[in-house]
């Protein structure tokens, strides 16, 4: 009886111990991971946007002011020197940024980031796949970005961006514009097609992540870029609203994908609290 008990006892004890040891082992052979934080900036010609003042001029010659910018970034990767991608933010893969909500301007990624040197990062402007299906976000503020099914096909989805402001129209009246991007609807000879309009953006920039440290990246949206290159975007031509105007959205998207974002600076925080 005593023998029996002891044998079982040993097995009972050994199994969890072995499991513990084996799961600890590989971790110990690698350097401890670091973490990543992204701080979002909104710039006009390299300076921080000053909101609610008619002080900007776009390439088309419109005078304009910016009230608010609300947008989604998703599917972030770090890119290694060999061009390999390290997928990040598996759990928290979409982040909402709102210039009215201070706390959204910082994104602390939940992932452990393998320590090392990276050559840049890639991300999606907007949302794609299942993240851009109606009902994916149930709570404000994200849910308030909903893009109606009537405009975005079966799936609806979300605004990738609302950039709201005013421009001086041809009568020199201060007039609202809503530069909103999301799924475009195109009617062509009786058939309806939907254009996704999200794009991937790659920023080359040496990024170092060290063990037990937080690397902090300042990622800027260069607002003037939405309106200038390669397409001169004129508010007098496109008017106040473009959600049902794929031509205008396509021009904006092409511009944004071409210089719309940049890494302003990279720094390291001393303490990693994780």
């Amino acid at each position: 009886m005593r023998q029996l008990l002891s044998k079982h006892t040993l097995i009972f004890l050994l199994v969890p111990i072995l499991a513990l040891v084996s799961s600890c082992d590989p971790e110990e052979s690698k350097p401890a991971p670091g973490s990543l934080e992204i701080n979002f900036n909104h710039l006009e010609n390299n300076d921080e946007v000053v909101f609610d003042e008619m002080r900007y001029h776009n390439a088309a010659g419109n005078n304009y002011e910016i009230t608010e910018i609300q947008w989604f970034i998703s599917d972030l990767y770090l890119i290694t020197g060999d061009g390999e991608r390290v997928a990040l933010s598996e759990e928290d893969f979409a982040h909402y940024i709102d210039t009215n909500i201070e706390s959204t301007l910082t994104w602390q990624l939940p992932d452990d980031i393998p320590a090392g040197n990276y050559a840049g990062l890639a991300f999606t402007f907007g949302l794609k796949g299942e993240k851009n299906l109606q009902g994916y976000f149930t709570d404000a503020p994200e849910a308030n970005m909903a893009w109606p099914i009537t405009l975005g096909g079966q799936n609806g989805g979300y605004h990738y961006m609302k950039l709201n402001g005013f421009w001086m129209n041809e009568q020199q009246q201060r007039t609202p514009f809503n530069f909103h991007l999301g799924v475009g609807k195109v009617e062509d000879a009786g058939t309806t097609n939907f254009v996704q309009n999200w794009f991937e953006y790659i920023v080359s920039s040496p990024i170092t992540v060290r063990s037990n440290r937080t690397t902090s990246i300042e990622l800027a949206m260069n607002v003037e870029e939405w309106f200038q290159n390669p397409n001169i975007y004129d508010h007098n031509v496109h008017g106040a609203m473009i959600m049902q105007n794929q031509e205008a959205m396509a021009a904006g998207v092409e511009n944004g994908a071409n210089g719309g974002f940049s890494v302003v600076s990279i720094s390291e925080k001393n303490e990693n609290n994780q």
Binding site: S6, L13, A146, P176, F177
Partner: protein, 400 residues
């Protein structure tokens, strides 16, 4: 053998620790359970927000919600049992009108509410704003009242004007706050917290109900506020025809569908402010181009100090909108036709207008008569007849 017997002791010790831990966990519950109220489950509605606005110190319970319902409907909340001096939440917040007074209210002509008459206000002091409905409040994290004054961010305590000390629980942070504020405010219940508490505790039915909800029979303003707030959070609206259409349980008529498509188009554009989600509100604040001069003392600006919020108010939920005339914070529109005409051709430019009012320079979204009819048909499909008749939200039959 030495090792194994040591191990045996170890095992026994481990088991003992397990037992102690588990038993102590289980052991507490059965004894306490007897006096524990039953947790209240809100319905799990597909697509509704998951993040509920329930303070950690006031979890919803069946007993708490029930007590709250009684207090919400008990006119003695004003501190007196004389029929002429009774007033409570339900005096103004009427279920059949989605908990607004309603434009045909016999006591408040035109839906303009007033506090209880007193020596100082023989006619009763007018409430500064017209009413807001009460439903789906548990899903709102962005401030209560037309200007969002009651919110997590509000650090203020007490009220000098009402003689309420600057201490807890007299805060302005959540639905609980609306109870003490309302009892004191001359333009609402126009009562007195102390008198109200004494009145409620003198009614035989209440102390046992407080005991069931909170563990002891003590009646105080904190518990009264918590109970009523629990009842408010229990009121949810998710059974309009539009909701049932989204759940594929109903179909919209041709006109309703055309109205739906207009509502969610950029041409008419109601969804940016009133929500593309099924709450039919963003709970955000906007200046929606009604005026060019602003001098109202309770707009969003008084809360944020941001000049952009001058003349801005909450874009309320359009659910049950059919039942809640007159419209806007100042009740300027008597029916939905007037509201739709306003958005179609009545907009007024000011430097404070929100850019989402993008047709302001054309005076509105310019709807044809047909489009106006269709839009209205859709708005009428937002009425939740089930909620406004639900006995769980009605006056208990044994109240005076």
């Amino acid at each position: 053998m030495k090792i194994t017997s040591d191990l045996k002791y170890l095992i026994i010790a481990v088991i003992a620790v397990f037992l102690v831990v588990n038993l102590s966990g289980c052991g507490e519950n059965p004894t306490e359970m007897q006096n524990q109220p039953t947790p209240y489950e809100l319905p799990d509605i597909p697509g509704f927000p998951k993040n509920l606005n329930i303070p950690a110190d006031n979890p919803m319970t069946v007993e708490g919600v029930e007590l709250g319902r009684y207090l919400f409907y008990d006119g003695r909340l004003a501190g007196s049992s004389h029929p002429d001096s009774m007033m409570t939440c339900a005096t103004c917040h009427v279920q059949k009108n989605a908990f607004e007074a309603g434009i045909d209210n016999p006591r408040f002509p035109g839906g303009k509410t007033r506090g209880l008459p007193s020596a100082e206000y023989p006619e009763g002091k007018e409430t500064p704003h017209y009413m807001l409905p009460l439903f789906n409040l548990v899903y709102n994290h962005n401030g209560y009242l037309w200007n969002g004054w009651v919110s997590e961010e509000n650090q203020k305590l007490g009220s000098e004007a009402y003689g309420v000390p600057a201490e807890e629980p007299f805060n302005f942070r959540n639905l609980e706050s609306l109870v003490w504020m309302t009892i004191e405010a001359p333009h609402e219940v126009n009562g007195d917290i102390e008198k109200s508490v004494r009145m409620i505790e003198s009614i035989d039915k209440y102390p046992p109900m407080f005991e069931k909800a909170f563990g002891t029979p003590e009646v105080n303003i904190d518990r009264m506020s918590k109970a009523i707030a629990q009842f408010l959070r229990s009121i949810v609206s998710y059974n309009s025809k539009f909701h049932r259409y989204l759940r594929q349980e109903a179909t919209l008529s041709e006109a309703e569908l055309r109205g739906h498509n207009l509502f969610f188009s950029e041409e008419a554009d109601c969804f940016h402010c009133h929500g593309g989600s099924i709450l039919m509100t963003t709970n955000e604040y906007f200046n929606n181009a009604k005026d060019s001069v602003f001098n109202e003392e309770r707009d969003r600006f008084v809360v944020t100090g941001d000049p952009l919020d001058i003349g801005a108010y909450k874009a309320p939920s359009l659910l049950n909108i059919e039942l809640t005339a007159p419209y806007m914070h100042d009740g300027r529109f008597k029916n939905l036709d007037e509201v739709i005409d306003f958005y179609s051709e009545g907009l007024v430019y000011s430097e404070y207008v929100h850019p989402l009012m993008k047709n302001v320079r054309e005076g509105g979204v310019q709807l044809s008569d047909q489009e106006k009819e269709d839009l209205k048909a859709f708005l009428l499909a937002l009425t939740d007849h089930q909620m406004v008749n639900d006995p769980a939200y009605s006056k208990p039959s044994d109240l005076p």
